[in-house]
């Protein structure tokens, strides 16, 4: 592979030091080999955050980034990225839809790099060139929704776009997230706690400038082609009809639930009936909405008309909340899921974080491994909505036992009863959302993801997609097992494809849903490369674009080896998934045998030219990617294979 020629794409980075109040704008073309979005964000974190810096130290950075497509008419160009060293010392990037990213570009910025710690709580207000740091004492302690309203009121700008943290972020809860436009979360990485550690409550932006494109004719030709593909896609149509609840039927068909803390991956008939996507749409859907420049419309406002949560209204409740607060806790009531989701959004806490902790508490209680005296007198049992809501509040406010739980389930299990650790379903210390024993490739993607258990950084969806176009899929994936979820062969190749593709859409500012993830006929590398070139006026080849994605994956790997001291054992599934077979349903009898998983992991490492025994990168691999300095960093730490 040749090195990428120097490109001319100039990006604008707004640097803000909260320690001394310094603000300056950097215009640079130095990051052409990182493309944009998470590419630039993760490289800056790798370069600027030393291993001696802890996540909550002022010297840690949090970076908010956009991609070159944000602000254009490119379908789904709405995603905002945040990157930081996470509370678990991992390289963590997280993405959210909504309207903040395009607004930031309309204000004239591609990235915001924040370092330092303010002495007092502050807000950052951006109005085109005018960037101010102001006192946040009026909203410190308030919810994300109150903060959003406050900022719109004091600026008298209804079109202001706001990202903020709630009480959970202020109190450095490990699973705190950052809410964007009230209902979109930069979640699963604890980035809300990083903002809290800097005494930064919110960032608000209003922009009135324009976003230019280099080659409009080419842009509209590709963009129109993609829009037409989206219109024809069955999977996208279902997403438009039901939101992300459209995947309920597939989860039933393949057995992809997390019932009672993953005891089973199949749900009981009564729950299945209540969780049908048609029933949920009929009973709860109030309005269909979308993110910026997205024709799909997978966002929803749900409204509760009866029962204890009557009057609750929430935007953005996803399938994830149904799985996490419904199936995982044994609660067959969607109105509870909407209530819990809405509460989490206001408190600024990631849905999967309290759900994972509560599921572990419920199972530990069932197995007699926990004493209610240790839990402020609350008995957590399956299906108990009241105790679940109490725990969410306690965790977010670090109140009583919540102060222990706020550091995560593994930390709490170590303190309360080490025997209960088996029931902490986690990868790399982070509470797991993903059911694993029903699809091998999906599992591998979640296990090797740098931020610890996630299905959006490499997990394929094709294994459990009943509507896949067989011929096209075979041509693209070049393997026979792409639609056989319980087969092991060649699954590393599927993960290698999607971890690269998703790094690239995350560099460009696009949503995963516009790619061939859910539907093989949607864009892959070629369309994304052409779209990118038409906007920034470069001539990246597909090979160069893939090389950028590999550079990003290797940076993540190196960061986690250096900062979190990860090793091969951290890339394995939780013990339960390796020891216990799925009890019922389509995946009945299947488990992820350790030896088989080890073989798959070694094939995956080999594909990356990483050492199969340790997972450490080889010098050859890093030098080919022009990452010699990174190889040298790893060498010093004894984490490089010299071959």
């Amino acid at each position: 592979m040749t090195n990428i020629k120097k490109k001319k794409n100039v990006i604008k980075i707004l640097h803000i030091d909260l320690g001394n109040g310094n603000i300056f704008l950097e215009k640079t073309d130095r990051y052409h080999e990182w493309l944009g979005g998470i590419g630039i964000g993760e490289w800056l974190i790798y370069k600027e955050v030393k291993t001696s810096v802890n996540a909550f130290d002022p010297e840690n950075r949090i970076i908010f980034g956009t991609g070159p497509l944000n602000g254009t008419l490119s379908p789904t160009a709405c995603r905002l990225y945040a990157v930081s060293k996470s509370p678990l010392n991992l390289m963590c990037s997280s993405s959210a839809g909504g309207f903040f990213a395009p607004e930031l570009r309309f204000a004239g910025y591609d990235h915001i790099v924040i370092k330092g710690k303010s002495k007092k709580p502050v807000l950052i207000l951006i109005n085109d060139e005018d960037v101010k740091i102001i006192n946040a004492s009026d909203v410190w302690g308030k919810t994300t929704w109150e903060t959003d309203n406050y900022l719109k009121n004091i600026t008298k700008q209804p079109k202001l776009q706001v990202l903020s943290i709630g009480p959970a972020g202020e109190k450095l809860v490990r699973g705190a997230c950052i809410m964007v436009n009230k209902n979109r979360a930069l979640g699963r990485a604890g980035l809300g706690a990083i903002m809290g550690s800097k005494n930064l409550k919110a960032i608000a932006v209003r922009g009135t400038k324009s976003v230019n494109i280099a080659n409009p004719k080419q842009f509209f030709s590709i963009s129109d082609k993609i829009i037409n593909k989206l219109k024809k896609s069955k999977a996208i149509k279902a997403l438009g009809n039901y939101g992300t609840l459209s995947c309920v039927e597939n989860k039933n068909l393949y057995g992809g639930w997390s019932y009672k803390n993953f005891q089973d991956l199949n749900i009981p008939f009564t729950m299945r009936k209540k969780f049908s996507s048609d029933v949920l749409k009929k009973n709860y859907e109030k309005k269909i909405l979308s993110c910026f420049s997205c024709p799909i419309g997978c966002d929803r406002i749900y409204e509760i008309n009866k029962g204890p949560y009557k009057g609750t209204e929430a935007e953005g409740t996803q399938f994830e909340s149904l799985a996490a607060f419904g199936a995982k806790l044994g609660i067959d009531d969607f109105s509870f899921c909407v209530k819990a989701d809405s509460l989490c959004n206001q408190l600024g806490i990631d849905v999967d974080f309290p759900a994972g902790i509560i599921a572990w508490l419920m199972e530990s209680n069932e197995k007699g491994l926990i004493d209610k005296k240790d839990l402020d007198g609350i008995i957590p049992s399956w299906g108990d909505q009241e105790s679940a809501l109490k725990f969410i509040n306690k965790i977010a406010h670090r109140e009583g036992i919540g102060d222990v739980l706020a550091n995560g389930a593994l930390y709490a299990a170590n303190l309360l009863n080490k025997k209960s650790k088996y029931y902490v379903m986690n990868i790399k210390g982070k509470e797991l959302y993903e059911p694993l024993r029903y699809a091998v490739g999906y599992t591998l993607g979640a296990c090797v993801s740098p931020r610890g258990g996630t299905h959006t950084m490499g997990s394929p969806f094709c294994e459990s997609n009943a509507n896949i176009d067989f011929k096209k899929a075979k041509e693209k994936y070049k393997i026979e097992t792409f639609n056989k979820p319980l087969e092991w062969k060649d699954k590393e190749k599927l993960v290698a494809y999607y971890e690269k593709l998703h790094r690239i859409d995350s560099c460009l500012g696009l949503c995963h849903y516009v790619t061939d993830w859910l539907d093989i006929s949607l864009p892959g590398f070629k369309d994304l490369t052409d779209l990118c070139n038409s906007v920034i006026g470069e001539e990246y080849t597909e090979e160069e674009i893939m090389r950028i994605s590999l550079r990003i994956i290797n940076i993540e790997k190196a960061f986690n080896l250096l900062h979190a001291n990860l090793s091969k054992k951290d890339d394995f599934p939780p013990e339960r998934d390796m020891k216990e077979a799925v009890p019922t349903g389509p995946a009945k009898g299947f488990k992820l045998k350790k030896e088989k998983f080890n073989n798959l992991l070694e094939k995956y490492y080999t594909l990356h030219e990483w050492d199969k025994a340790t997972g450490f990168p080889t010098r050859k691999c890093l030098e080919k990617l022009n990452l010699t300095d990174v190889a040298n960093d790893l060498k010093k730490a004894g984490k490089l294979i010299e071959k």
Partner: protein, 94 residues
């Protein structure tokens, strides 16, 4: 002219497409159509027409020179938006 738009999913593709027609760049602030979405539950659409002096004097010209209005072409609910655009033309003529 302001119209109720229950069908609108608030993606703002009409605004950015419109701005491109008028200016050759993407900027929702330079469009002759505006989504009023202070509450995302009750969305209205404002069309800036000649009589009303739009933002930066950019008024709807029905994408003069093009086969179809850009806002309608890119709206995921194009047929519904078309009725509003046509109604606005009628109302102005009256």
């Amino acid at each position: 002219m302001i119209f109720n738009a229950e069908f609108c999913i608030d993606c703002k593709m009409c605004e950015i497409a419109c701005s491109f027609h008028h200016t050759g760049v993407f900027n929702p602030n330079l469009a002759s159509i505006e989504i009023l979405d202070n509450t995302r539950k009750d969305i209205k659409i404002k069309i800036y027409r000649e009589k009303e002096k739009g933002k930066n004097n950019l008024n709807c010209d029905h994408c003069c020179g093009l086969d179809e209005e850009m806002c309608i072409k890119y709206c995921p609910m194009g047929e519904e938006l078309k009725s509003i655009i046509n109604l606005s033309r009628k109302l102005e003529t009256c």
